[in-house]
Symmetry: C2
Subunit: 585 residues, 2 copies
């Protein structure tokens, strides 16, 4: 990378600032106090006049304050998220003032176990108190206060950085407009704790560790390298490793028949372990992984949902499909707790083969989500869809049925056209559910709360009657678990608006009767073998089904394909499609 | 466990036998030779007169020859597969003569790096030659020869034991009737090699390792414990660990805020590491994991399929759904290679939450598969289904269409009723594909080659025109990727017999026409919302589709529900179901 590259922030200096003075120590979660505390940080871009363009980035285990650009002209590698942060990049330093600080306990300038213990004038070593993610966030807040920052547009971070993001939203709920926790979790599961524990064991068992009082010449480098190797395996996906390394041998075409590293993946891990040892401190590794193991956002609350009750900002939660360290399911747990609180939450599980490391590698896709979301948080966009290429009659009718100011959940909302119109025209509180990543991105860009979710799984975390309207438009006939899904909608919505094509439309009847073939019409345009419509139902079928499930039909609007006026006569024969307004006690 | 327990083999002695004399050393894959070689083993049950009831069990990394029963009255724990081997158990010692030997390189009696090197009169240590899985199997063969065993009914093993099983089938293809490789692979992927490599690194970096010349008082126990901990994580599933340990703390209700082990999963791993160190040798660990990393069944062949060409026995391949060390996909690779060779192969991916360890824990399910398969291999069962509770007209008609002695693949074969009848009545070579575990088990019990597979994924590894007939009975209307699936069947089968319910049957037409409802008939008995039929098609629809795909219709048998005589007049109107015989060049 050249320093003169157009979209680089260029040369940046890491600065250090004292945020906790010796005289006023910080109270830590463990019960001990700590002072003084210095914080190393970098900033990019310019604080605007209103001071409302600040983005805080929280780094992960092996990261530091050096996010973007280079520290001096000879640097061969830029900061750890340079592909994301810079002028014109996804986190655009032409627009935003971006800050990142090395976290408490780190080894890149902020006070940590390698810092001088003022009472002994030696490095703390294991005398450094055990810290938590919340302690890290408190220090970040004190640091921002010192810089005179009054509030954040957004706080963003992946992995352990994402834990800090989550902690920020409930420790200082009034301080940010938006939060983007990426590839993270509210708590580690047993498997992740296990991997961390084995890594710590390797460090502690290294004879050079000497109770944490090692010197840089004689550090527990074997133990730290092994910890890093273990970690590295968990950052990649099985598939990613298979495609990158397979069973390739590094320097030979056949086995050496000795115990040395010879598979490419072995020498890669050796290298990762070795290079980590050169830039990281073993004591910091112990403290940070312990903080990560201890992190449990619901601590002190009865449930995660109760913990999130305090949060006020908008959320964009991101996971990656192949991440097995902090899994998509763990991100869904975050989303579920936000949804249960009625928070403004969006979620996407981005397809990626890169495992946990995807948050560093999937710059393009991740960047498009982040930039879209930041834009909508910074300058709320005009919501309405300017022009619809092929207007849908049922959308217009459905819009006419919704009371202004009500809350609406649109299932299978696509790119959010109906929701956007409802927000613009009727000032509703609108949210969407959609399965397809591309469509989810379009909703995010439009500033719509959109959750990537398969409706077949139900709406478990949505409270009873939490929406005035739920819309299921032209989707019922493609749903597999019809009964379960419809029951869930009835539970969550005060009214449920359902539209679907009428299989008993006269053209269908005649095609089957006279031609002896599965019907193909404008509303049912697919052949039997390529249709996504897995159920054939008529108005009568639906009404019988409603009776069976004790669903009340409050209204029924049979329509043809093109006209807004309802079909009056023999609707089950003459309607091509139908809209029902239903409800259930 | 009591020693007097009815279904235990009781007290067993591990015996040792010299299989390679000093004067006639064994040639190893690495190019070196080894002598002498002693083998430790146990046997259970009695060799029958014909000598055809011998089962060889191959053990995994940390196992040994002690499979079942106890070695002395004070033993608290029985052998490692005691839940599977014993009188009346799945591997029934009343019927079979069961043998297990500690493998070459092990540390439980068979010659390994801890044995005395005759040239130095000291333990080999790292002077022990690098061994391979094939070397282990060669020693097992020499050992069986020594015992006078002339052939095996079956060779069975899980994990590294499964690698030995696979190796057996191609090294000594004439020596066994059946092979059961469980939770295994033909080669390790990059991720598994990586975990092994980090474990070896931990041992090699332990200062006590001393180039492999450690004493038992001063062994690399820290390194070996860490290797074992890493291994242990990979033996469990994420879900299994979550359910067993979660975030539970061992001795406290709140965090200790120190660096000691406190999560239950941490103390569990500490214990696993510690107890392993007491019973296992670090050098053996290095050699065995290296042999496992080196294992690649296709070595020396152009493809895995070419490697398996030599195999002659019947195979039952078993994987477990949550095994992420040796995954179901890796077992499917084995099955695909067998299928590509036209071998007699059965496969089931058994549902289990226990990860790789399931091969030790799922005694009941695994046992029912193994016992059923062994029985059918030992005493071939009468194949025909004695009585069918509700006879299916289409089955009878299909049976009448099949030429005697032909090869038949039945897609969605259920419990194999049609196949069993075809084998009994027409002496066909029959194989089945079925998705449901229970039905797969019934086929295994019946001695049918049955592969658990989702037909939606196609038939990638089946050669072109490799079956005289493929049967797709009453399944087409439930298939999602109709075009792909039908094209695959046409490629693999010389003739494809397809049957499905006729959606244009007159009752269907009238129901839609007159009642305006999705048809419900005897052949289409489900309501629109609970039907597994996701496509509606008529004879006319199918024929148009065949024309589009250039499929030739060689025969057409329209039927009513109950009668064997075809519908002659206006079949698309009067037939309830239909059978087509099709083909494609």
């Amino acid at each position: 990378m050249k320093t003169t590259e157009d979209n680089s922030v260029g040369i940046v200096q890491t600065q250090t600032i004292r945020v906790v003075e010796q005289e006023e120590p910080l109270q830590l979660d463990c019960g001990k106090t700590l002072a003084p505390i210095d914080v190393a940080y970098e900033t990019y871009g310019t604080l605007n006049e209103k001071g409302d363009n600040v983005i805080l980035i929280c780094h992960a285990l092996s990261g530091n304050a050096h996010v973007a650009g280079i520290n001096n002209p000879d640097d061969k590698k830029p900061g750890w998220w340079d592909n994301m942060v810079g002028p014109g990049k996804s986190i655009d330093t032409n627009k935003y003032y971006v800050i990142c600080s090395n976290f408490l306990g780190g080894c890149s300038g902020t006070t940590g176990p390698g810092s001088e213990n003022p009472t002994t004038s030696r490095p703390y070593g294991l005398d450094f108190p055990i810290i938590t993610i919340a302690d890290m966030v408190r220090v970040q807040k004190l640091f921002l206060d010192k810089l005179g920052i009054k509030g954040l547009l957004a706080v963003i971070g992946g992995s352990i950085g994402g834990m800090q993001v989550l902690q920020w939203t409930i420790l200082y709920p009034d301080f940010m407009k938006a939060a983007i926790p990426i590839a993270t979790t509210t708590h580690l599961g047993a498997q992740s704790i296990a991997f961390d524990a084995v890594g710590r064991n390797a460090i502690l068992a290294d004879p050079n560790f000497s109770g944490g009082r090692y010197t840089s010449e004689n550090s527990p480098s074997h133990g730290l390298a092994i910890a890093r190797m273990i970690g590295h395996i968990t950052y990649l996906s099985e598939k990613g490793m298979r495609e990158k390394f397979g069973r390739e041998l590094r320097n030979s075409s056949s086995y050496n028949y000795d115990l040395n590293s010879e598979f490419a993946v072995e020498t890669y891990l050796d290298y990762q372990g070795q290079s980590f040892v050169e830039r990281f401190d073993a004591n910091s590794y112990l403290y940070i992984t312990k903080a990560s193991d201890y992190f449990d956002l619901k601590n002190g609350n009865n449930s995660l949902s109760e913990a999130f009750a305090k949060a006020k900002c908008r959320f964009l939660v991101i996971s990656f499909t192949s991440d097995w360290l902090f899994t998509p399911e763990q991100s869904k747990t975050i989303v579920n707790a936000l949804v249960a609180n009625g928070k403004d939450a969006s979620f996407c599980d981005i397809y990626s083969p890169y495992g946990h490391d995807a948050f560093l590698l999937e710059a393009e896709t991740l960047g498009s989500f982040i930039s879209g979301f930041l834009e909508s948080a910074f300058q709320p966009v005009h919501q309405k869809l300017e022009s619809t290429p092929c207007p849908r009659v049922d959308y217009e009718v459905i819009e006419s049925l919704i009371e202004p100011g009500s809350s609406v959940l649109d299932i299978g909302c696509g790119e959010g056209a109906l929701l956007a119109n409802l927000i613009a025209d009727k000032n509703i509180k609108g949210e969407g559910i959609e399965l397809e990543e591309k469509l989810v991105l379009n909703c995010v860009r439009r500033g719509l709360p959109i959750i990537q979710h398969d409706i077949e799984e139900g709406l478990e975390n949505y409270a009873d009657k939490s929406y005035d309207y739920i819309i299921l438009s032209q989707t019922l006939q493609t749903v597999k678990n019809t009964e379960k899904v419809l029951s869930e909608l009835m539970r969550v919505g005060k009214k449920v608006i359902v539209s679907f094509p009428n299989f008993a439309y006269w053209r269908c009847r005649l095609q089957l009767l006279l031609e002896g073939k599965a019907p193909v019409t404008k509303q049912l345009p697919y052949k039997w073998y390529n249709s996504s419509n897995i159920h054939c139902l008529s108005l009568k079928d639906f009404e019988e089904f409603c009776e069976k499930l004790s669903i009340r039909i409050e209204g029924k609007i049979p329509l043809t394909k093109a006209s807004l006026s309802p079909v009056k006569f023999a609707p089950n024969f003459f309607a091509e499609q139908v809209i029902y307004i239903t409800s259930k006690e």
